[in-house]
Symmetry: D2
Subunit: 350 residues, 4 copies
């Protein structure tokens, strides 16, 4: 069967490069178009991009000519790694012209008719799509994935919410520098240091978590009614957001039941077979000093959340540590998995 | 006036070296004795010590001959930077023989008749000393200072406890590698990484905080009755423990009142004039992305707690970030300040 | 065909762990025995080892019982990751009892009858083996691989020596912390720092290079007659030794000829097909700011030397940068490749 | 005596901030003017600057209003921390209008009538100033200080050149991230990494060294006739450029003679008493593993070069390691010391 052609918006940036790596050998998708800012358009990709990945640039894209981000690309699916300063308008234009846009940008995440999709947790949020298209007169659609910290949190607390209902969630993040894109965090700011503030991040973690685990209502989403409080911090780590979570449940559960819940969690049937879906969305690690970002972030293809140190808490029901790959599960990989689900549901024709 | 001779136990170790730096120009104290393990005894200090400080080794100690840790040192005050594997017994022997031992080790911190002293917060805990001497038949005494994470936390929450009474305290730490001594954390474990576990640390933070802010009772201490929950983590930072704190108070206070409480806090009169006492024990920093360990840890001679990002919390009353110098305020500097107070009170004769 | 059983000496250490990872799916070899110090012996491997690798511990070794390093292991090949403090004697005992010992330790590297083997460069050094066995009355043998800095240097300069003859070689190293084993370099010594001294390293780089590229003489090796001068430095990098090399050749060559020499270099025929042999022992990278350790060290399975920035030098003929994987090509991987060659030559029977 | 008013061009940048710190308590100079780009002009300094220093912003500049870089500042001395993209023209305009410009930018360093001044080494290069003023019709002048790597090298090799004459110099640098200004090196490029290339740096090191140690000729400078070859590298270090140097001398000298030369070197009389002049321009450190950037860079107020590991070299006469503070001795401190000398000589009237 022929592969589905896809395009990447913001293809030269940090997220764009991750899209290229994740899509290079994808069984369903084939990179047909690379688009970026005017400055890059017209150049061959290997000249336009400052390639900052460890894995080498795939042969297949080296000589592709970068185009501008205009809705005349030869594909139906557009993965967007655009910066939020430009993503809003460009993504809307693409959706209007019939593209299915899978976006990493924050611009539309909290829109009442845009899904903030984590395939394993809220695939039913796609039901809002017809409403989105009707509201906006679009032939295509925009589907977003959460902020990189929010998705790691949601993956770990989502299964518990489904089983025991969340009441209160407290999270302190240790976020990798790659989460800030490129050039991102100046080295002089973070070498041997911790920066206890990331603009806008805490609000995203708190509101996005509630939307992700909320329900589709008539015309919008009804946020889940647990409370989230967060402290977001940057640490000198290359990849992997680590989070210290404390939480209380409405239906009490022991540490063993919670661990069991995670280990058995697989997400909905239709998601389990998708090419980018992890075999086990949440993996509980047994070592007392794990997960650790540098040592564990690449495991399970970067698509699972790794949970460790699950224990009782004197202020909440329990506390634990969770690690997720912020530029794979928290960005490019999440978008691609979302697109796979949309293809699987038949919304996009193969 | 002649200076008071003092000795340093564990003088070649990381804490011992900090003691030397902090005491080199002390107005009251003069280093008379350096003691360490048998391996070092008999050597000149500059040969015995693997000096790992940025500041140079003071001239005055270079040629001093290191002795063994036996209670025949020519001094009445002994600062102990001994490792907990040997501190217990040695410190007891010294106290028995009439030394005033100011200890950084964990061994005696939670003993019911040993003060866990922070001069600005609980100087009245010294009232237990006669009981300690009576219980144990000692001519001297042991006075401990808290774990390096506990002291940073206590300095920030102590003034609030005095003004508004604490109810619940949640803390997540970002601890510097220097907190583990030398050789301490292997570089391969922490470079570009976070280790979400420090053996024994969370228990110390929780129990020590309650003791520090508790009351002296008849024969022991009555712990303060707030609840503490902690996650302790190691980060690749040289000096300075950063902590994300969320807390609730029994008597409600606004963010402004809390900030005012910190800014006005000075500790008891008798402490304010001590040579090592910071002018302001808690300093509130205004920048939204501070305090930061590498940039702020050396400020105020490393003796104040720096608080930032004070804001309301949806789960607790408020949340903030606090930074303290773990090897000065969290170790050597704290012990010295404790000794100054004991001298000031007349318990030790000048 | 049945796999050849092998044992690992020092199996719990840093190099031992790399051996396990490199051998886990080896087409010819099968880990049959794990041996370590008395402290570990009798325990299951997963309890004995403090596993510090990013890749997970292979299932196959988890429950293997660790033995002591005595020559009663059920295998003919022993890979040694022993520390030099114990390697000398243990390796000799094994060789005497008929084991083929492939050693990473420095103890026997410069012995006149022990090969310091880099398969692509000096496979003929194996001719000394009968002499070694005769000299020492051994049924087995010891074959060493070079120091991790020396092998990276030798891989890059070896092909040039074969084509143009080296005259003078100047090298300044930037060595990763993993090169010091575990626990190795204390983090407080290297975080945000450079340590411009590694005990014994410069001598190893200089003398080993000459032995590697020397000739087998009657009863020993005749060192190559070029001169090497080195500065060895430790930098806060996890894996990968980077080296700035300047050199002069006896037969002059242009930069293009030198690059051509590297790109065409394949090593001897019999080595090319070995399972661990890199397709291209020296890879020249075109980017002006590469190779870089964090980004490039894992390429080519860590078995090639990556050369970059080849240019003329005003003091020597040319200068360049070379990067090699110090714990794969510089340790475990090199030993395994050496063993493969010995099997291929028929010295060890399959 | 009244202080001399000075201005800072590029006052909000990384070098500008260092100028402010170095000038805050200067005995001769007083900051009268702060100038920066249009974006900052009109704002109070504390609002215009993103203060990235560990030491706090001096009170005296907080409320100063930042001006544009136009030659109507109320001062005669202008310290320039401007980026080279704009420094060329602005500095010329200032010099034309009568300002004495002390510049850190590369633009005019190699001009034949502009001194590249290191006070201890080539104060006589100021003799070119009348020629510069005549050539260009300027009332003021431009005096530059060398590239931050070149100055560290020159300080160490300059005394040897004066005593023994240099023949060949080989240098490999380990350069701190602060050398690239702010935001400078992206953290994702350098964390746990080495970047073996810094654009333009090697050429600066090589040509500037020769100019610095050259002679004033009729209308220009005659470069010293030794040969320099360099490899420039970036390492994850905050402050302090470390350099591995090998060199040969025309008049042979033993290691002891070379060490003696450094220890006795004081620079010319007229320089020794200047406020920013280090007591000893080159300090030889005895420890075998020092100097180290993180531990030693702040010593001697960051104004001396620290030399260590002096030893014989098999390819050159000797080799050693040198460390200098790249943003103090390599930038702001060097400029200020240059200005002090010019004031001392009477070229600028007090």
């Amino acid at each position: 069967m022929a592969k589905i052609p896809v395009g990447i918006l913001g293809a030269t940036g940090a997220v764009g490069q991750k899209f290229i790596l994740q899509l290079a050998d994808h069984p369903w998708f084939e990179i047909r178009e690379l688009a970026a800012s005017q400055r890059s358009s017209g150049k061959r990709y290997q000249e336009a991009a400052n390639w900052i990945q460890s894995r080498p640039m795939p042969e297949s894209v080296r000589d592709m000519v970068v185009k501008e981000c205009r809705p005349d690309l030869q594909c139906e699916i557009a993965f967007s790694g655009l910066d939020s300063s430009v993503a809003g308008e460009i993504e809307e234009t693409f959706a209007q012209e019939g593209f299915w846009v899978f976006s990493n940008a924050k611009n539309h995440r909290m829109d009442p008719d845009v899904p903030l999709l984590i395939t394993e947790l809220n695939p039913e949020h796609l039901e809002i799509i017809p409403r989105q298209q009707q509201n906006r007169g679009w032939k295509g659609a925009i589907i977003t994935n959460p902020n990189c910290s929010a998705i790691v949190l949601a993956l770990s607390i989502g299964p518990l919410h489904q089983s025991f209902e969340l009441e209160r969630v407290h999270v302190v993040t240790f976020q990798a520098i790659s989460g800030a894109g490129y050039p991102g965090v100046p080295s002089i700011d973070i070498l041997g240091n911790v920066v206890p503030f990331i603009p806008g991040e805490e609000d995203k973690i708190e509101t996005e978590s509630q939307k992700i685990l909320g329900r589709v209502a008539e015309n919008s989403f009804e946020p889940a009614d647990f409370i989230v409080s967060s402290h977001a911090n940057r640490v000198p780590v290359e990849e992997g957001h680590l989070e210290c979570v404390s939480l209380s449940l409405k239906r009490k559960a022991t540490v063993e039941e919670v661990i069991g819940c995670w280990e058995e969690f697989r997400g909905p049937k239709q998601v389990q077979g998708l090419p980018s879906a992890p075999a086990q969305p949440v993996v509980v690690v047994p070592e007392e000093n794990r997960p650790q970002p540098r040592r564990d972030v690449e495991k399970y293809d970067g698509m699972s959340a790794l949970v460790g140190r699950v224990r009782e808490c004197s202020l909440f029901d329990l506390k634990f540590v969770v690690l997720g790959h912020n530029t794979i599960r928290g960005a490019a990989g999440a978008s691609i998995l979302n697109a796979e689900l949309v293809v699987e549901t038949g919304l996009i024709k193969r």
